[in-house]
């Protein structure tokens, strides 16, 4: 088996980062503002240091933190996508009645397979990414998207501004139009908040980077129309007459660098983020499992893996490495996550699908 990232240090670091975030999970969201991002970053680095025999040079530590941030970001994107899909199904579901079969996506994925909501999980993962790499533009953007969906316009505006000003991932795909989209969202929020001049200015900055925002472009034409800026409104109505698609930037993931990729199976295919898969043995300590783009250190893991084994191992490693008393609610959540992972893994095996 090939492992895209074979550095056991990174694996340990991710385990610790995951555990650290899990501690916050039961009490409150793991971030609230830039101060808490920074606090999480500090705690991450403290934990990193505790686990090392010798301290890493700063540059090295930053590099590892960046790779870990990408792992969290990707975990967040998966849950964010599931959130979107679930929301699509909810409206459809709501218009059915007792004679209709309940769609599995809202029935099962939303209420059974995941103990936490996709929104909470995505937010938590993105926050972790930002904690590890505070200038992670894509993670800031995606957090902003979630904040906007929650109705917190001011927070969303802050985050979109940060995203627009941060450096996009070096592998960002051109069709994500990342900065243009961030500026467009800034403009939309300013408009909604009644900041007319600022909104116009932001729209113009966005249009300097991209001249057509697909179905969303109508909002600018309508806005200008309402303001009585008739010639400009007409120009934008006309601009969007032909078909033009704008991809959802939050889901156009960058081309990740080699050390940011998922582990690969022997055929060179990325491992499924949904399936808990053993990827590396560490003498005297156990095995590293890959799951949800995270790496779990499982002492003395056995194969074939089952939910109970992984759950016991997970609980023991959490206790032994971090030495924090577990709360019942967290144990329950962990248990459900693991069951979901192993049942999905079984499903993939059963239907003979590749990991992804």
């Amino acid at each position: 088996m090939h492992v895209g990232k074979s550095d056991s240090f990174l694996s340990d670091a991710l385990v610790l980062a995951w555990q650290m975030l899990a501690q916050n999970d039961a009490d409150s969201p793991p971030y609230d503002d830039a101060g808490e991002f920074s606090l999480l970053g500090d705690r991450y680095h403290q934990l990193l240091s505790l686990d090392l025999a010798e301290p890493l040079p700063i540059e090295e530590a930053v590099r590892h933190a960046r790779a870990a941030a990408v792992a969290f970001f990707r975990a967040g994107v998966v849950r964010h996508k599931l959130l979107l899909l679930q929301e699509i199904m909810e409206r459809f579901d709501a218009k059915g009645d007792v004679g209709d079969p309940p769609p599995v996506l809202s029935d099962r994925a939303g209420k059974f397979a995941y103990s936490d909501s996709h929104k909470d999980a995505a937010e938590r993962h993105y926050a972790a990414a930002v904690a590890l790499a505070p200038d992670f533009a894509e993670a800031l953007y995606n957090l902003a998207v979630l904040a906007r969906a929650s109705g917190d316009r001011e927070k969303a505006l802050r985050l979109f501004r940060l995203a627009a000003g941060a450096r996009p991932h070096p592998g960002a795909k051109p069709h994500s139009h990342f900065v243009a989209n961030a500026l467009w969202n800034v403009a939309t929020l300013q408009r909604e908040l009644g900041l007319v001049d600022a909104a116009i200015d932001s729209y113009m900055r966005a249009l300097n980077l991209l001249d057509n925002f697909g179905v969303h472009h109508l909002e600018l034409a309508t806005f200008l129309h309402d303001l009585g800026r008739l010639d400009e409104a007409a120009m934008h109505y006309e601009r969007i007459m032909p078909y033009s698609h704008l991809y959802a930037a939050e889901f156009v993931e960058p081309n990740y660098a080699e050390d940011e990729r998922q582990p690969l199976d022997p055929a060179g295919n990325p491992l499924s983020p949904f399936a808990a898969t053993m990827i590396q043995k560490i003498d005297g300590r156990g095995c590293i499992y890959y799951w949800w783009h995270l790496y779990l250190l499982v002492p003395h893991g056995s194969r074939p893996i089952d939910a109970a084994t992984l759950e016991r191992s997970w609980l023991s490693v959490e206790t032994s490495l971090v030495d924090v008393p577990l709360r019942r609610v967290r144990r329950w959540r962990t248990s459900w996550r693991l069951r979901a992972a192993t049942s999905l893994e079984a499903l993939h095996h059963q239907i003979g699908m590749p990991g992804r």
């Binding site: 998966v78 996508k81 979107l84 899909l85 929301e87 699509i88 199904m89 909810e90 409206r91 459809f92 218009k95 059915g96 009645d97 007792v98 004679g99 209709d100 079969p101 309940p102 769609p103 599995v104 996506l105 099962r108 998207v145 697909g214 179905v215 969303h216 109508l218 034409a221 309508t222 129309h225 309402d226 009585g228 008739l230 010639d231 409104a233 007409a234 120009m235 109505y237 006309e238 969007i240 007459m241 032909p242 078909y243 698609h245 704008l246 991809y247 959802a248 889901f251 156009v252 499903l347 993939h348 059963q350 239907i351 699908m353």
Partner: protein, 456 residues
Amino acid sequence: MERANLPTLLSPQNLPALARRAKVRYRIATTATDRLRIMAWPIFERLSKTVEVEFVTEREAPDITYHVEWHHQSIATARAEGAFWLLVPPDVAWSEGSFAHVADAIEAGKLAIAKPYLRVISESCLPEIAALGKRGDIIPIQSGDLVRIGVRHMHPLTSSAFVLGRHGRPSLEAIWRVPGEGVVFRHMVRELFAFDPTRITPTHLWYAGDGCTIGDFHIVTDSDDMFMLSFAPLLKETSLYNSNHAVTPMDLARQSLHPMNDTPLTSDFARRGARLHYGPMTEVPWQRVERRADAFIGRAIVMREALRIWTALSGRDCSQASRLISVALQSTALAKRWRHDGPVTVFVPNDAAFEQLETEASRSLLAREAASRLLRVALNHIVPVACEIPFRGQANYATLGGGKIRVDASPAGLRLNGHETQLVETIEVPPNRILIVDRWIIDEADIPVRAAAHCS
């Protein structure tokens, strides 16, 4: 293919029924390695006993575009042999009886068939269908049951076409629920599932091309006739969705004009909906939902035609009129108020005609508070017939806005509503016609014309 396609395809009223009525060759494009794997499936033995099977293993590592390329090769082969061609994807499940009905349609003289289908989540739906039989068994699924499975495992790619949804996607489809009974499905255009390639030339994506009429087609309108589920991984094409934007008639119109989707028969296809139902239908709720669907699709068809007209005006010194059309289409109830289903003639004043208006007159039509005036102006330039050109003698046309256009054509020239007018150009946008004229022909209460312009 092993777990759902072949077990449902080989049910008694599907491929076996078709094979009893016609010679069938089942061609599989795959790699040499997978050919061996397929031949080892228990279900393959049933397939090879039912129809002649031919493998095409010309590539060892085909890329994603190969299947389109290969289908077109396969169409060419069928054409050369004078055979009907059927598109039977590997990642689908069929309702029992679909292929017997294919035979019925062919025997009835139809040249092509288009059928509806639902996309379902492969990760959850495939195991459920596979569990209906043992490995190698055939699995007959009645259409009502398959629709029920389809709704249960509905893929967000399909439910994003729900007109009351939260998030949409670029779509050629729209769906409505009939609570407790099923779904009304409407397409702007559908892929051809089967056709006679000697008579029909398909587009790149297997839509109907030129050279045929809607009467040549069997368009499935009821899932009891033919129906299919198409499997797709849950996270497929996630970046395509339009967040916080449900599908609109304008979306359908725009998407239908994408060069890959545009066909001469789009408006005819769009007028035909499909009922996908679990069992017996209660007529009243179905008709109620269908009326809503008709209104929605009707607006999409009008918008499509308006977009075609707007596109045809490009580069013809009609920039002012183009601008008004785009504002009227997107900010007024133009499509809703367009109560005509058929060819139209549109009188379009050119830019020179706008020079005859009082200063700011045409700009004033753009204002929010002028929306009803703009709508009236637009509709009063449209008559619900394809006018005979050149004009001869006198004729009166009622416009869609309730006005009238009086035509006086004589050797001395053309007069519209009493004013000397030059017909600058005639453009055909089948089935519609555009007449570019050099003056306004409408009520001055709606748009004031300079005094000098009346001296004719």
